[in-house]
Symmetry: C2
Subunit: 265 residues, 2 copies
DNA sequence: CGAATAGTGTCTCTTAGACATTATGGC
DNA sequence: GCCATAATGTCTAAGAGACACTATTCG
């Protein structure tokens, strides 16, 4: 840009009227915080816990939509991205940092907020139950609570948050089958039965025979998804010791409805 | 909500200060309009055209970023969603309606627009070259132009539009392999060679032998992606007549890195 | 030993992928 | 007849899916 153009641009910017276009009242980053809660079943013998997909909600104590359950979130500002806003809110609410957090989509239906034109950038966060355990003891406030998705269906939710949660569930179901996000809900080493249970908790329609699932995980030689931890077994959930596995770091899913475009082997 | 609560909410809304939180100057819907341009090769014999993935850009004639090439787009307002804004802009720019149009993601890096806090909801549109042909004749303005993605790499682009285009290309490459969006770039009936060429135009790394591609398209019995049009052949691109195909409407891709969760057959 | 969960053997059918071969029409 | 492109044949190896079977530990 030559000096004349530069000056023209400077002048333009100095005389620019920020109210030239209609302005939103604000932009919020809202977060659907998913976790898988487990409930130990104390039966006659050892078995896997009962797991449920859950979402963290907050009871609104201010207007509007006072008293309703809502997604955690807050207003963003010019000096941070919406992802940063979401990170901040997530940390404030759960004390958790450095976890899976991603933009889902933007919610902007006119009239979604009675205060006026407020956009919501909905995010999805996946938190391991363990990380929430500490926090739970600290502030067991009854205005912050985990609900299973079955329970959420019965609640009175603020704004368009029911729609956001529905979309988020659909989204993580797809992620669960197409990526290795199951790792976010598992310890670093786990049994194949645990992995299958986590998948089925998020995607209940995923009904397959366990033996073939195990075989698939073991026999995929080109690109193994999980690899066995040498000589490490667990008897936490079963009588017979079960082999422990880890996710293979090298695994990069690439899915195609056409022929696989992978380079020749 | 009981009458007292209702009144409390009314009072809250009437006294609500829209400047309570920092407000963006505006929100724009920008669109990456993709099309596949074809260039007929007039050689000794009939052959497929040369195809290139292209993007529609507009030369900015106002400040800021005056003179640079930019994505078409415009400011949204409180009474429409960003998708509607994008639809409107798309129609204004191309005269095209009812085509593939979807939100890509939100661009909100602080400082991305010198005017101040302006968010951009980037959209992706897929337009069949045919639809643009009429328009092109009408206004062959040199401030609106299609560029192949190779050409775009050399241009001076406004704002963060280079990043947006890069992200959009990555996104449609994934879509191309995982969904049937190839249909957006093809006529309703097409040969398998054309389909393969469209896929390879968008995903150049998709190098496979054509014969196996053809077989895969034909032998997938459970859920065929394309179905042959009975007794319809084309000699447009070849000496020997080639079978014409259509996309199967019943096809619903469901991809999984684990065992296929489809119900038993 | 029985119960419960982990894991393997085996068989059938489908698909991926390489590569050779045949088919059709224009020039 | 030659060439270009379309399409099929054939072979090997891998994977899916069903189902019977073996293995290990606890009580």
């Amino acid at each position: 840009m030559n000096p004349a153009e530069l000056q023209a641009e400077q002048e333009f910017l100095q005389s620019y009227d920020p109210n030239k276009y209609e302005r939103p009242i604000g932009v919020t980053a809202d977060i659907v915080i998913f976790t898988i809660t487990s409930e130990v079943l104390s039966g006659s013998t050892k078995c896997l816990p009962k797991r449920s997909l859950s979402v963290l909600l907050i009871k609104r104590n201010g207007h509007p939509e006072k008293g309703k359950w809502a997604l955690p979130g807050g207003f963003s500002s010019a000096d941070e991205t919406l992802l940063e806003t979401a990170q901040r809110e997530l940390y404030e609410e759960t004390g958790v940092d450095n976890i899976y957090l991603e933009l889902l989509k933007l919610y902007d239906t006119p009239g979604r907020d009675k205060r006026g034109w407020i956009l919501s950038a909905a995010h999805v966060a996946l938190v391991n139950e363990q990380y929430l355990a500490n926090r739970k003891a600290a502030d067991d406030a009854d205005d912050v609570q985990l609900f299973t998705i079955e329970e959420v269906a019965k609640l009175d939710l603020a704004f368009d948050h029911r729609q956001i949660i529905t979309d988020a569930v659909t989204y993580i179901q797809k992620l669960m089958l197409q990526t290795t996000i199951a790792r976010e809900f598992l310890p670093s080493k786990f049994t194949l039965a645990e992995l299958l249970q986590v998948i089925q908790t998020v995607v209940p329609s995923y009904q397959i025979t366990k033996t073939n699932f195990i075989r698939k995980m073991l026999l995929t030689k080109k690109q193994p998804i999980v690899i066995p931890a040498q000589n490490e077994f667990s008897t936490e959930f079963s009588q017979r010791p079960a082999q422990l596995y880890q996710f293979a770091n090298s695994y990069v899913p690439h899915l195609s409805i056409y022929v696989d475009p992978s380079p020749k082997t």
